[in-house]
Amino acid sequence: MSLLRNVARGLRSLFRKEHVNRELNEELGAYLEMAAAEKMKDGLSRKDALRAVRLEQGSVEVTKEVVRPARWESFVENCWQDLRFAARILRKNPGLTFAAVLTAALGIAANVTVFSVVDALFLRSVPAKNPERLVRILAPENNGGGVFSVPEFRYLREHSKTVDELTAHYSTAPLYVSANDETGEVQGAVVSSSYFSMLGLRPYLGRFFTPDEDSVADRNAVAVLGYGFWQRIYNGDSAVIGRTFLINGQAFTVVGIMPADFHGVEIGGMPNEIWIPAMMIHVGYRYCDGFQPSCTILSIMGRLKSGISAAEAQAEIATLMQQLRASNSAFDERYGASVTPAVGMSGNREYNLMLARLLSAIAGILLLIVCANLGGLLVARGTGRGREIAMRLALGAGRGRIVHQLLTESLVLAFAGGAVGFLLSTWTSRLLVNFYSVDDEGYKHLFDVRPDATVLLFSLAVTAAAGVLFGLLPALQASRTDLNDALKGGGSPVGANRKSSRTALATVQVAFSLALLVGAGLLARSAAFIQSGSNMDLHHVLGLRLPVSLIHYPPDKARTFKQEVVRRLRELPGVESVSLAKGQGLLWNPWLSGRATLPGKMYAKLEEQPRVSVKPIAPNYFATLRIPFVSGRDFNDSDNPGSPPVTIVNETFARQIAANRLPLGQTVLIDDKPYQIVGLVKDAQMRSVIEGPLPVAYVPFWQDETLLEARMCIRLAGDPAAALPMVRKAIASIDPAVPVTETMPLMDQVRGAYTDARVASTVLSCAALLALILSAMGLYGVVSYEVGRRTKEIGVRTALGARPHDVVQLFLRQGFRVVLSGVLFGGGLAFATTRLLGAWLFGVGSADPLSFGAATAVLLCTTVTATYLPARQAMRVDPIVALRYE
């Protein structure tokens, strides 16, 4: 109550200041009058009585000054006064204000941008109505990804007493859809019916599927469509409810439309556009039978019952999984489970955290440089305002009051910069997250970087911290102004410590800039190394996938179709060569899928045989990817199912399996089947360039009649992306029903695979460039300020016969001192910190002389120029003008 009253009174006196002051006046007046009246009773005249009272009580004004500041609102009043004064001061000097606000904005924008991405990756809750108690339940990692099978999910749903609304979802189902005369691949989700209630979703139109529709395998072919899909394919026609369309060749009935802003539960996942019941998993997943205990593909979520902790739920789930295994050995052995809040991305957290830490460190250093820069600017301005501040001190303002005033000014600058920076970051964070929005298979991922409350709060905190950081030193220094010196009007009321703090701030900037530049150089070299690959060239190569099994092609039809595709594509203008390879993406981590050994070599156990990667490819694969032959021949049309099995191996294979003897013509057993080695190629490395070469045995694709699916690679004379429509048309002319998916220039695939390296290198390069500009500006400021301050001295020196270049040297020396100490500090700093980059550096050491040398050279050129330009002004000082000015 009393607090409320206090606030109410405070507000009243804030807004009715006149009135409240009048009341205080009147009350004090009455007090004095009464005291005087008392004295008059003793026979004093009224005039003498008033005088006596005033002598006793001190002046009314002083009393008022004692009473007034004790109220909290007078602090607010002071702030308001300072604020208005700060605005006035800053308006008076628009150039400086603009530069300062812009500098602050860039530093703050960098931090907010990085934080927005961190927020989007790690801090956002799953898009649910009440996400607080939602959890992800992860199976132990022993069978990848933390996923469960349908029977496991059913068992947990029936038995768990700690988690409500247990929901299974498989949210990365590429579905081949034919709807309303359009066909294409759409990202779908296979979900249990509790999905919708767990998330608290309401259908935009129609309904969601019911528990009954999700109870019998393969029975209810119903689907909920995404709002975007509905708009795109059906033009938002509400009559679509009840209509059917095809998913992977099977008819589904539309029952409802999702709300517009819902794209699935995976943060940073591929946005879902179609939802089908978990019981229809056969349509959504083809690589194992979704109802088998060992076919683990489902992610599980749920809502913790009230009063239950994640740890309790985790213990229960682990026990249940053990019971299940004990009752039926068809289930995989599981050790424990983990239950975590449904916040942030579900996979790859550790990995991305490492990147997030690096980016935050970069942004933090940039902010330090910005603060040093602004600090220097404000110290200089504090010097210029020495007389004003001295006057205020002389008139009785306290030190604290001066610091308060100057800090208010820097906070005004910071918040103006923060506002601009925040706006800027909404754009830059979208740029940054773009790096993540396409993966190495060409699939789009959705990250929400629209600023939320967390980001806003972070921006405010960073802004306030920056304002205090760059404002405090200048404010403290200005408040220490020596009254005598300043008011004597020497014209240059500058203490030595003030000059040295500017020099120190400039040095800090140069040092940190060098550290950032070195880091940027190292990462750029590393990223270039990773993406260069070795013994292959993916520029001008287009990749695509023809998943014929989606439309149930039999093997022989698939074979003729693909042979026809190769033939047609080869005839297209601009196409240099065409080939295809089986299965995994061209650049995916090579999978050691087979065993290989020389005949006659005995192993006690199969597992002891060396593992190799076996890769079925069509002829011209090496020509298309420009992998050089060492010797032997390529596969050709006569390597068909009837002919003896042949293989082409790489050098690592030859070294490891064939004991380095030239293996041409030799027979090798791959998975116990004899192959004759007909060719030897160089170790082509793209994906694994950072891990070292693996042994690879290439086998002819056409020799294996069971192979259905393949990824095409097409080498073109020009831009591969531009040729895509032509390629699509050619394939459609053979069979328009075949889906053409995962189309992308292979260099884009490389870029997608090394996103983190590119993000780190790009961000660091931008930060380093910015830092370079800022430190050049800082140095320019220091030197040009010195020149201005010492005009009189220059005049005297010149008058006494100093030559212009002597004078210039005077200032150059000062600038160089800053640069040199900055480079020394920065070099040491870089040497100490680049080790921390270790995990990001491939093909380049953390003490790489080239990066250090180049960074130092760039820094020296820039800073020397920034010193020289203002120093030259000293040459133009006219001694007569300079001396008369005084």
């Binding site: 009253r5 206090n6 009464m34 109220r71």
Partner: protein
């Protein structure tokens, strides 16, 4: 005045004001006169600290002010003890008594 007025013991001013107002609602000058009289001139209040304390007590809701005409037809703010103020006064009086007794015991120890 026989002796030089002495300073108030730290923190007792609020209690004295509350006590004065408990006897009879009065204005600022009235409070200062009463305290001086009752203390027989030992305590003399300065207007600055008096009004600072009044302001504080009023904000805390221990006293309430109201403009009223005085005997000689001026306007002055008269202060009344609130319920809460009375309670506070009781507490402080009791606490003060305890402390004084304790201090006395220490000083009288031999």
């Amino acid at each position: 005045m026989p002796e030089k007025p002495s300073d108030l013991v730290q923190g007792t001013l609020d209690m004295l004001i509350l006590k004065t107002l408990a006897l009879e609602p009065t204005h600022g000058y009235g409070i200062s006169v009463r305290i001086e009289q009752m203390s027989k001139g030992v305590f003399r209040l300065n207007a600055g600290s008096l009004f600072l304390a009044i302001q504080r007590l009023e904000r805390d809701g221990l006293i309430e002010g109201e403009w009223k005409p005085t005997e000689n037809n001026r306007r002055a703010r008269y202060y009344v003890l609130t319920q809460k103020g009375r309670k506070r006064l009781d507490n402080e009086t009791r606490e003060w008594g305890r402390q004084v007794a304790a201090i006395a015991r220490i000083l009288e120890a031999s």
